[in-house]
């Protein structure tokens, strides 16, 4: 070790440099988002909780084509269908296992009638194991509840699809 290196070490210059780095950070603006009070902006493409939509006259959109269940990579969707009195084919059972669902959005893309959609809701929970099964009624209710926001988001995103 030559004299210059020794002097550099003894002057603790590297330590002082390190101290300055952290001191600068100390006065920097803080980036933490205070989550429950403040929320980060969501993209209109955000894929959250699944929902089933209705037509404006209240009729459910789903025609039980089972494309979503076929495309689902996690096989989270179970559908059973029957023929109604007017001859149309409708679902009697439409269940999504929320634990299996990976929120990939393939079902939404596969749907020919825009029935199944992903809302931008990500704050939900369940306290019992059986609640992971989202029944048709629950999905339709979610769709009714968040209809306006969902349609707005889909419209915003439509030009990129």
């Amino acid at each position: 070790m030559n004299m210059l290196q020794l002097l550099k070490k003894l002057s603790l210059i590297d330590f002082i440099k390190g101290f300055i780095v952290t001191l600068k950070a100390f006065f920097r603006r803080k980036v933490t988002v205070q989550y429950p009070e403040v929320k980060t902006p969501l993209s209109p493409r955000f894929r959250g909780k699944l929902a089933l939509m209705r037509y404006d006259n209240g009729e459910e959109r789903c025609i039980a084509c089972k494309l979503c269940s076929a495309v689902c990579p996690a096989q989270a969707i179970t559908i059973e269908s029957e023929e109604r009195a007017d001859g149309s084919r409708r679902t009697v059972k439409f269940e999504i296992d929320a634990f299996k669902c990976i929120y990939c959005g393939f079902c939404e893309e596969a749907c020919p009638v825009d029935s199944i959609v992903e809302t931008n809701i990500f704050e939900y929970h369940m306290t019992e194991n059986h609640q992971r099964i989202q029944t048709k009624e629950m999905l339709l209710a979610t769709g009714d509840q968040h209809k306006d926001q969902t349609i707005k988001n889909k419209k915003k995103d439509s030009r990129y699809r």
Binding site: L12, G18, T22, L23, A25, F26, K30, Q34
Partner: protein
Amino acid sequence: MKEFLSSLLSSLDPQWISLIWSLFQIAIVTACLILTVIFLVFFERKVIGYMHSRVGPNRVGPMGTLQSIADTIKLLLKEVIIPAKADKFFFLLSPILLLVPALAAWAVIPFSPEFIIADINAGLLYLLALTSFGVYGVILGGWASNSKYAFLGSMRAAAQMVAYEIAMGFALVGVLMASGSLKLGEIVAAQSGGVLSWFWVPLFPLFIVYFISGIAETNRHPFDLAEGEAEIVAGFHVEYSGIGFAIFFLAEYINMALISVLTSILFLGGWESFFAGLTFLEDSILAFVVEPSIFWLLIKALFFLFVFVWLRASFPRYRYDQLMSLGWKVLIPITIVWIGVECVMYVMQVGPWSVA
């Protein structure tokens, strides 16, 4: 205060009065220390958070100030688990062995010209003895846990403390030579007369060495090999839970505060004001800023506590061999060389001191 106490208890023997007075002082200092630790835990988390561009704890109480009280309550309510094959007596004794010297060392600290619990003649020796006593708590705690990691941690702590004790002792020798007294009150008095007559100017290398060995002595970053989360979980206190862990924690933070206060006393003039010696201030309305008082000591100590936390946020942990070579091959030679230099300065009378 003391006069008030003696008038209140005038019927008693004066010996009893001084005993009660001492107990009263001890109670005040201990209570203040525990409050300091509560503040320090919060301070550390907040400062490190800021240095990470986070905001740190801000949920409990206004601005998160009650966070460490909540933590304390949580710790005290937790179950105390004693490992099945642990040596129960020493396992329970070691936190106390660590805490008692940490608290007892404060007996000789001169907080202000008037307030000192015991102004004993060998104050510096007493401090050296008590700060090295803390290692017994660490070793016993690690050994009594009967766990490999705890044992490794305590072995590391023992070697580290022995190594840095020497550098610390030599740095204190420098202070002793400069002040000509082992009494802490007289050491501060020897530094009176403005910022430049404090010992950090003539003893600058010793000042740095003392603070570095103080950090090593308290097992703090970047010398916290005894804890070393990445390698040995939490080191010597890995088996402790609840109140045992809380006491280890308390002792560590009290030691931190002790090292900060000691560095301020020995090298930065203790209770002396930053503005002492500026004569134009003494006649103005700002005369109070040149008065020696406890606040100057607290400000200086708070700065060193900030440096403790700052170091923790800035630097990675030393490797074991680096730690040993820093202690033996760098700090001890520096202190020896500077004591030699000081001897020359002493004889040539170039320092702020004079040959008695």
